[in-house]
């Protein structure tokens, strides 16, 4: 039950903002400070949320923040918990989740490439999908892909 999960988190962590989204069953969204992410992820993992579904990033350029979103799933409770945290856009650094889940590697590598977020303690942040990319990370909001493709591929626009 969603309420049980909310109680569980509230009982163990005080400074966490919990939202149960409207119209969405079996979902709990929690927002935390970036230092707390690993602790909460470990706590949830020990309490049945063993499946790391995904890690992703949202660029809130107007606020000057990146928002990292971690999706955890419990096979017993059948509930998805999204852990969200905001980090500075100028100095995007976050502690890696590698000690908890090996497979965090794939997601962290992708976010590092597409958003330029640096994961402290992850030794394998090598290029992933892009090849010989030298520009700014392309999923950032200030990268204009239309302009880029015009300059790169349209000979008349040059």
């Amino acid at each position: 039950m969603v309420e049980g999960v909310v109680e569980l988190i509230k009982g163990n962590f005080s400074d966490v903002e919990i939202v149960i989204p409207e119209h969405q069953e079996k979902r709990v969204h929690i927002s935390v400070e970036k230092e707390k992410v690993k602790e909460i992820a470990k706590f949830l993992k020990d309490n049945g949320f063993r499946h790391l579904s995904f890690i992703t990033c949202v660029d809130w350029i107007d606020e000057g923040k990146f928002e990292l979103v971690y999706g955890l799933y419990s096979y017993e409770e059948k509930i998805v918990v999204l852990i969200k945290t905001k980090i500075d856009r100028d100095n995007p650094k976050q502690e890696t989740l590698l000690p908890l889940w090996d497979q965090a590697q794939t997601y962290e590598r992708e976010i590092h490439e597409m958003f330029g977020v640096y994961f402290d303690g992850n030794p394998g942040l090598t290029p992933f999908i892009l090849e010989d990319w030298e520009g700014i990370p392309p999923m950032r909001k200030d990268f204009d892909s239309r302009k880029y493709s015009q300059i790169t591929y349209d000979s008349e626009a040059k």
């Binding site: 660029d59 998805v80 999204l82 999908i129």
Partner: protein, 365 residues
């Protein structure tokens, strides 16, 4: 012994799509595998941020080619959650029919690929031609064979045409009969058992820890299926089983898909028989001013590959602020391959990949 590097791909023997793996071999035994994706990167997530909510519908299906409909369903569901609307019951049933046919079509592809990779070359010819009967149905229903652009926020694009139910039942009967033929040549064949048993084993604990989902997870003994655990479309009202096997090897991963085809046939028959009357779409905003209230939602469906999710963020404008696509192959194709391939013979590399059912366009997006 001296090791050497071998490049496989991007036209790949073990996968439907462009993908490459760099193998480090000693003799014919794999020592290290480094997946190298990126050949199908089309920047869908970025594209979607620049197009209106309704204008994204025609592009999402292109994210996974063999199994396109989970994308459409996910995208539609994410927008519906943010708008706070529910599609009408008839639309939900039609979605279920489309999604299950898509699953069977995708599994047939996998059977063909896997059988081909172990030298049973007749099976690919059979499965690909049988898949065409499903594509005929899709053409009748949606106008498109591979990409359907059919499920959209609020419902589906068209009602079932006259004669569709009868034709769909004929195809199901035919497929059911064909499974016996496949048995004789493939599933019961000595060669398949000899080659696939004990290859690429994932045990139950590792499967959960490594983020394996879908049929691959169920082949390792975990009973989990989004269709039951977090029902969407009409799955909550239909009666079906979740097959589970415990071997966790390439053999079980293929056999579980065969069992799923049987269940899918069952689901479609029920949906065709019990489909309610009524409208097929809910009222949605004007396509030119399709504004979605701010918020975020994670929705997921059970695709033929595993957990397929969309995380959508809206900031109250007419375009999505961010769409993240969680493909099941992101884990299966990168992390699991790195873990499974070392120690296996070069000749088994392609069948391990096919047994995992990796879809590269889902990784690159």
């Amino acid at each position: 012994m001296k090791t050497y590097e071998l490049f496989i791909g991007p036209q790949h023997v073990g996968i439907t799509g462009n993908f490459s793996v760099i193998l480090e071999l000693e003799g014919n035994v794999v020592k290290k595998a480094t997946p190298n994706p990126g050949f199908l990167h089309r920047g869908f997530e970025k594209l979607m941020e620049m197009r209106g909510f309704i204008h994204n519908v025609p592009i999402v299906c292109r994210i996974c080619v063999p199994d396109p409909d989970p994308n459409e369903a996910n995208y539609a569901m994410a927008v519906e959650k943010l708008l706070g609307i529910e599609p009408p019951p008839r639309a939900k049933y039609i979605r279920t029919i489309v999604l299950e046919f898509s699953r069977i079509a995708s599994h047939l592809f996998t059977f063909g690929g896997h059988a081909g990779s172990i030298g049973l070359y007749t099976i690919p010819n059979w499965t690909i031609s049988d898949r065409d009967f499903i594509l005929d149905l899709f053409e009748m229903l949606t106008g498109g064979r591979v990409y359907h652009i059919f499920i959209y926020p609020g419902g589906v694009r068209r009602d079932l045409p006259d004669g569709f139910i009868e034709k769909a039942k004929d195809v199901l009967n035919y497929l059911e009969k064909r499974l016996d033929d496949y048995n004789k040549l493939y599933f019961d064949s000595y060669m398949f058992k000899k080659r696939a048993r004990g290859i690429g084993i994932i045990n139950k604990e590792d499967a959960i820890e490594w983020g394996v989902t879908g049929p691959n997870l169920r082949a390792s003994g975990v009973k989990a299926d989004t269709r039951k655990d977090d029902p969407y479309a009409a799955y909550g009202e239909l009666d079906f089983e979740i097959p589970v096997l415990t071997g966790g090897d390439a053999y079980d991963r293929i056999m579980i898909r065969r069992m799923e085809v049987v269940e899918s046939i069952k689901i479609i028959r029920q949906a065709l028989d019990n489909i309610p009357d009524g409208p097929i779409r809910e009222k949605v905003p004007n396509p030119m001013r399709f504004i979605v209230p701010p918020g975020d939602a994670y929705v997921k469906v059970e695709s033929s590959k595993g957990e397929y999710g969309y995380y959508m963020v809206s900031n109250g404008k007419d375009k999505p602020y961010r769409v993240y696509i969680r493909g099941a192959s992101m884990t299966h194709g990168i992390h699991i391959l790195e873990k499974l391939l070392p120690g296996n013979y070069l000749a088994d590399v392609s069948q391990i990949m096919f047994s995992l059912d990796v879809c590269p366009p889902e990784i690159d997006r």
